[in-house]
Amino acid sequence: KMASGQQWVLVEMVQAFYEAPAYHLILEGILILWIIRLLFSKTYKLQERSDLTEKEKEELIEEWQPEPLVPPVSKDHPSLNYDPNTKLNLSIVCGLPTSHKIVVNGKECINFASFNFLGLLDNERVKKRALSSLKKYGVGTCGPRGFYGTFDVHLELEDRLAKFMRTEEAIIYSYGFATIASAIPAYSKRGDIVFVDEAACFAIQKGLQASRSFIKYFKHNDMEDLERLLKDQEVEDQKNPRKARVIRRFIVVEGLYINTGDICPLPELVKLKYRYKVRIFLEESLSFGVLGDHGRGVTEHFGVNIDDIDLISANMENALASIGGFCCGRSFVIDHQRLSGQGYCFSASLPPMLAAAAIEALNIMEEDPEIFTILREKCSCVHRALQGIPGLKVVGESFTPALHLQLETSTGSRDSDMKTLRTIVEYCMNRRVALTQARYLDKEEKFLPPPTIRVVVTVEQTDEEINMAASLIREAALAILK
């Protein structure tokens, strides 16, 4: 029945075709042709092409003048070599020793500049261990970890670090800077959100940039500001819950901030973590091997359960006085970097002798936890001794081993502040106390810290040396800051 019905419709159509007037058919025919033309013609013009002739192109190429590859650097930039007769410029550390006492530009100074907190830089045991490793493995590894660049020493060091920190797993990098800078983009991708402290160090900034995630800066150590951002995000999430289910969120903070000498309020951060379900990445380059009774860092300092921190990263270049860096945490988190950490996968592995040195440094730290108490005492001693210098204020906690001295009143321009501080550093350097200004790339920093002199505390500094240095700085300040 259906079929016959359809047939009937068809017959009717044919009939209608016959009966239609000629003009109607012609009109429809034209319309059909028009549609076909529309279908096959380009619907838009591919941009108004300027269609340059070859000659014009050649002229354009001829005319184009690039900027010079690099702009000239002013001759008195502190990074360029110094003139011994006139002024100190870049300090050249020459000859021996290079640790507690250091020969700078031919003068032996007491070192208040290198991050050699535990004085392991010229430790005999560390050197001997490195030497025996050198005798076994040579210097270089000649390959990345994947391709015969994994040495038994690396596995041992990773194991030791994990045990020391009481985490499941640790992974080592061959460069301190590359550690956190590779770790962040291994997890946080485009579309994810990272909450970062404004004072975060440069390595973190670069890691964030490589991750291409949304970056939200909160005011330095201001938990209310952080919570405000987290709340905003919560509101945002409610608008689009489907999207919210796949956006990863991270808080990235430093244990002790290298730029300010402050400690992060970790217990509050952990509370926020669980309240807003955000993961915490903690950079501990300055606090590892410094804070806590056993040198495990900020988590030990505050008594925070280390499993509550998703990832801890630190370099082995400060307290451990070797080279490289490591991340530690749960295997669920850390193992991912073995295929996704760029600085891990695509770089030659750490020379075994440097790994061996780090192992020996760990041995020393484990055998003698007393060293951390001594360091803490030295820190507060330095902190106290530097108080009340006219014109200079101490920035940083009393237990931080890397303090900053900042001008109480700025002269108004960064350049002249820098020059003033440089004069103080030179004054001290001439009188055998090695200090350094904290150096930054002014144009690259997200939030450029104010100019400061950095004072680094190590366990090797005696009370006399500390007092001598402090009174020298006071003397310099009195002479220079009028």
């Binding site: 270089g140 919210a244 379900k277």
Partner: protein, 555 residues
């Protein structure tokens, strides 16, 4: 994963298309690209990338297809707890967090990589020299975990380390000097170059590197990867254009990305592609605003470590001059390994170092140390001393590592008063030619330049990646195998790195093992098997006739 499959299908289509083209053109003598700009070259430039045989390509895709299906099946079984799941799990307290990894992200790792994971990260416990000792490990759960047996696999012939000139040594001139410096200076520095970490050793090294390269000045950095990723951002920025070879190393890609410049990619070592980008860039200027580019930086490598190809440097330099672009040359693999004096790809082509604006390289490979350098005009280096991210924020190089570089470099330059360096350079060149020739004679498809010590041998199929690695280790030879994502999905390969430390005997042992495994795994794919030369007994499956090597780039 879907995108992966789509890409695979697309690749297949593209591939068959190209293949059909090749067949149709096959009767034509295939023009070697050398002839195009032959006048620029002072030596024959022969590189080959033989086409993947059609059947092999199809079988490879099928292999991946089966693996993928199996992967889904096993994921399904794991989901329903029928199969034990070995993947580390999120902790209970954080189960309601946004998952740290998307499920599909690790599909490849879980289901493909895990099967053959034993071919990578093999721990070693000796010098990574011509022979090495491996720590034996076994897995009782199909590679999810490894157990160390406590035994050592002794004297494995090392065809994997980048020990081109054999300076990975634990005794002799270099190691002794490094040992002295260790005891004198210690290991670490604990400060940056701009603060308190500018040692006289660094200055000494930098002068030597500049002399070695034949440039005005140089600067050294503690890590090769970081030399790229932390210095390119100092050189270019917004409004600048970076033209990057599609096969550039991850560190160059990262550096380019961190610089904030616009990045455009040209086809691997393809000068037409590069010239077109250069022309278009200058003619059209920046996108939207059409302002002229501030500067254009061409970024290339000397030897490409996965292809074994050598950059067409004379042509790149000609283009760079014609279009007033700057040139950044990464000699990570070529420094020490190429050229009659071991000065890298410039030396190889007999070019003037002045013509390259930024000379970069690493010390990891030929020098048996660690770190990287940048060499060039004094203004460039002065600028980097002030503005390099590495100089300001990263701890400077360890002294014994610097000493290893100083001594090995002096040795290469003959400044140690011996001819050891020169002999090693010669030995490496001979070993390279010999090794490549023999592999071709056996009928393997090998990629790259005839003079490149990096020798990729094509495996194609995913199952052969693991099989080749294991079979070679059974024969006491350590090789590197690589697959997706380090290579295109169907171009899995084994990569050999020839070293000056390899003796002819070692190479012969390795070659006969490779041939044996090649037969076992049916890897001798080449259609153009070279006629064996006199000193080599003819292969039982010898293929008659010589053929021109198909070149990939002109297509």
């Amino acid at each position: 994963l879907q995108s992966l499959v789509i890409k695979a299908v697309f690749d297949l289509l593209k591939h068959s298309h190209v293949h059909a083209l090749l067949i149709s053109l096959h009767w034509l003598p295939i023009a070697n690209h050398v002839t195009c700009n032959g006048a620029l070259y002072n030596r024959p430039f022969s590189e080959s990338f033989e086409e993947t045989p059609m059947l092999v390509a199809v079988l490879t895709y099928m292999g991946y297809g089966i693996l993928t299906l199996f992967g889904y099946l096993r994921d399904f079984l794991r989901e329903w707890k029928i199969e034990k799941c070995h993947v580390a799990q999120e902790r209970e307290e954080q189960r309601d967090f946004v998952p740290l990894y998307q499920d599909f992200e690790n599909f490849y790792t879980r289901n493909l990589y895990m099967r053959i994971r034993d071919s990578w990260n093999r721990p070693i416990c000796s010098v990574p020299g011509a022979k090495m000792d491996l720590v034996e490990r076994v897995s009782h759960d199909y590679n999810w975990t490894f157990e160390y047996t406590g035994k050592v696999i002794k004297d494995v012939i090392n065809m994997g380390s980048y020990n081109y000139l054999g300076f990975a040594e634990n005794m002799g001139y270099c190691a002794d000097a490094a040992a002295d410096v260790t005891m004198k200076y210690g290991i670490g520095v604990s400060s940056t170059r701009q603060e308190m970490g500018n040692l006289d050793k660094h200055e000494e090294l930098e002068m030597l590197v500049a002399k070695f390269l034949g440039v005005e000045a140089s600067m050294v950095f503690g890590m090769g990867f970081a030399t790229n990723s932390m210095n390119i951002p100092a050189l270019t920025g917004k409004g600048c254009l970076i033209l990057s070879d599609e096969l550039n190393h991850a560190s160059l890609v990262l550096g380019a990305r961190l610089s904030g410049s616009t990045i455009r990619v040209f086809k691997h070592n393809n000068m037409q592609s590069l010239e077109k980008l250069l022309r278009d860039a200058i003619v059209h200027g920046q996108p939207r605003t059409h302002r002229p580019w501030k500067k254009i930086l061409i970024v290339v490598e000397g030897i490409y470590s996965m292809e074994g190809s050598v950059v067409r440097l004379p042509e790149v330099i000609a283009l760079k001059k014609k279009y007033k672009a700057y040139l950044y040359l990464d000699e990570a693999h070529s420094i020490g390994a190429l050229g009659p004096r071991g000065r890298g790809v410039l030396d190889y082509f007999g070019l003037d170092p002045e013509d390259v604006d930024v000379l970069m390289g690493t010390f990891t490979k030929s020098f048996g140390a660690a770190g990287g350098y940048i060499g060039g005009k004094k203004e460039l280096i002065d600028y980097l001393r002030a503005q390099s991210h590495s100089a300001v924020y990263a701890t400077s190089m360890s002294s014994p590592v610097a000493e290893q570089i100083i001594t090995s470099m002096k040795c290469i330059m003959g400044e140690d008063g011996t001819t050891i360096g020169r002999e090693r350079i010669q030995q490496l060149a001979e070993n390279t030619t010999y090794f490549r020739r023999r592999l071709r004679e056996m009928g393997f498809i090998i990629y790259g330049n005839n003079d490149s010590p990096v020798v990729p041998v094509m495996l194609y199929m995913p199952a052969k990646i693991g099989a080749f690695g294991r079979e070679m280790l059974k024969r006491n030879i350590g090789v590197v195998v690589v697959g997706f994502p380090a290579t295109p999905i169907i171009e899995s390969r084994a990569r050999f790195c020839v070293s000056a430390a390899h003796t002819k005997e070692m190479l012969d042992v390795a070659l006969s093992a490779i041939s044996e495994v090649g037969d076992l795994l049916q890897m001798k794919y080449s259609k153009y098997r070279a006629l064996p030369s006199q000193d080599w007994p003819s292969d039982e499956t010898s293929y008659e006739g010589t053929g021109n090597q198909g070149t990939r780039s002109p297509m």
